[in-house]
């Protein structure tokens, strides 16, 4: 369903209700009794998460953004427990407009933290899918290791992602992606790539 307000040019959906649902849906969801064991369904989400990683490695940002719902969230918490983003600073907490801002900035040619650009390869593994009680919503947990080369060496960023997928008429879209770096509460050097 198309939202009333264009989420690329305004931000109405980031409101109290969204924050409440977000915090609730990212609490206590990795439960054995909710794990999906159907291999083809698990494969379906693994393929989507792997595709996203490839698009980011290849800097194909328009296709990356197209994997997301119109009203979506890219959330990189600054604490291991993720916290409540209404009361805590996150490393990043982007709505669609800010995700598009992020991409726009990287494309200006003046984002010195990404000039020259980092080269990355992402390894995705341990992909698990969880049902949620809503047939149109799945939660997916995956581990990642990003090898990032830039200027003077290669470094590694690792952690796990929580994806909240929602079903539309034609496909599963990413509504929320929470990126949990294992060192999220430490001082990070040049965190300027899209994780």
């Amino acid at each position: 369903m198309q939202p009333i307000h264009d989420p690329s040019t305004s931000s109405y959906y980031v409101n109290e209700q969204l924050y409440q649902e977000l915090v609730a849906s990212f609490t206590d969801w990795q439960r054995d009794d909710m794990a999906v064991d159907n291999l083809s369904e698990r494969d379906q989400f693994r393929i989507l998460v792997e595709k996203e990683a490839r698009l980011l490695d290849q800097l194909r940002f328009d296709e990356w953004l197209a994997m997301y719902s119109p009203e979506c969230i890219y959330w990189v918490p600054g604490t291991p427990e993720a916290g409540d983003p209404r009361r805590e600073i996150a490393i990043s907490f982007d709505d669609r407009r800010r995700m598009e801002d992020r991409i726009y900035r990287l494309r200006t040619g003046y984002a010195w933290s990404q000039a020259p650009k980092s080269r990355t390869v992402r390894m995705i593994s341990n992909v698990e899918t969880f049902s949620t009680g809503q047939s149109s919503v799945r939660m997916v947990r995956s581990n990642f290791l990003i090898s990032e080369f830039r200027v003077d060496g290669t470094r590694f960023l690792s952690g796990w992602c929580g994806h909240r997928f929602v079903r539309t008429a034609h496909r599963w879209e990413i509504q929320v992606r929470q990126v949990n770096l294992i060192d999220c509460d430490q001082n990070l050097r040049n965190p300027s790539i899209v994780l």
Binding site: V14, R86, I89, F93, R105, R189
Partner: protein, 456 residues
Amino acid sequence: MLEKLNTSRIESAADLYDWDELVQEDRVHRLIYTDPAIFQAEMTNIFGAVWVYLGHESQIPKNDDYITVRLGLRPIILLRDSQGKIRALFNRCTHRGTTLCRKDKGSARIFTCPYHGWSYLNSGKLRAVPWPDGYACDFKDSKFNVAQVPRVDSYRGFIFATLNPEAPALLDYLGAITKPIDEWLDRQPKGKIAVCEANRLKYKGNWKLAYDNSGDGYHVVFSHRSLLEMENRQADVANKGMSYYKGSPDTAPMYMAYMGHGHHFKDKRPNIQKRAGGLWAVEGPAPGTEHYAEELRRRFGARAEAILDLASSEPVNINVFPNFSLLGNHIQVFEPVSVDETNVTWYGTAVVDEDGTLGGAVDEVNALRMRTQEQFPNFGEVDDLANFEEIQRGLACQEDEWVYMHRGLDIPGRVKTDENGIITAPATDEAFMREYIKEWKRLMKATPRLAIQREP
């Protein structure tokens, strides 16, 4: 009050170099950024001898709360002891030197060393050692109590500490910079804020590159060009954020001021329309902007504009030498790690509204204020830090010795000094850099006698 002093044996940095040759009126030598010996001396002469910011009282709100921080390279447990006194304990067991506390924050009445089980009260006093009959000594001797920083003081919630018994009182050290600090706080209800996590960054470069930058109005349109383009890409009028630096920033009403003791202040508030909502009008887009603005205007009518200003970035850089800045709504802290590595932590602040001055809007203000605060570290600071790293790389050219800071120097009438000694200049001038580095030089020439203290 100094209960007991031990003068530490330190070698003098004064003889290390001819400091007047390294720091000249218009330029400084590359070695001040690259020499490990100078860095080592700074850990005594600067990050020991002057008041250094350690943390905010809201991070240790209750008795027995602690956070672990650093004073220069010294690991510190900053705590509020069981009697409510704020202390900065060396995070170091008196027995073998082991750190006593390894967590970032928590609450503890007692710290027990994980290595041999010596335990201490949070006043720093030794509580017990295992199997004491194996010792001939008297453990009531104060030398077994944890060392602590002898002078810890707060200014309106900001906690500073120094190892220098001869340093001026904190209030005198801060001096004129207390006025902008007061104004920064007093725009919040009851003048209060609470720290609410942080954007934590680091870079491979000397710590002074960040302090040089903190008052620098010259770099903005160049280093932050991508940010300025980004935040104005959908604006009807391209006036968002620091757009007032475009065109001719030196004729804009903003200014920079050097306020003594190494402190400086870049005041961009005169560029902003003096009306409720003036700040909000130039705030770039953030997640929730339209929703919260409309919601607050619906509930509060004309009063909403002033409330929205609290979610907007305050256009000041209040820089307290050597490691503390208030900018936007952030508390920014510089933490040297080595001669070419520095942590820069941008603590977020939330509005605290204990008595309901905001009529219940405090949660909305903070939900929006968290998102506006994430903008600059994500899209601005990262580019500065990349440039600092590239300075450090450039300074590897040993034969090209000088780094310049002479913008505005020797132009008649450009730099003004008032009757209180406060120096003001146009926004892009490097006068503040010249002045603070003079103070740095004075401190590096000195031979401070640092001291620690133990409970009696």
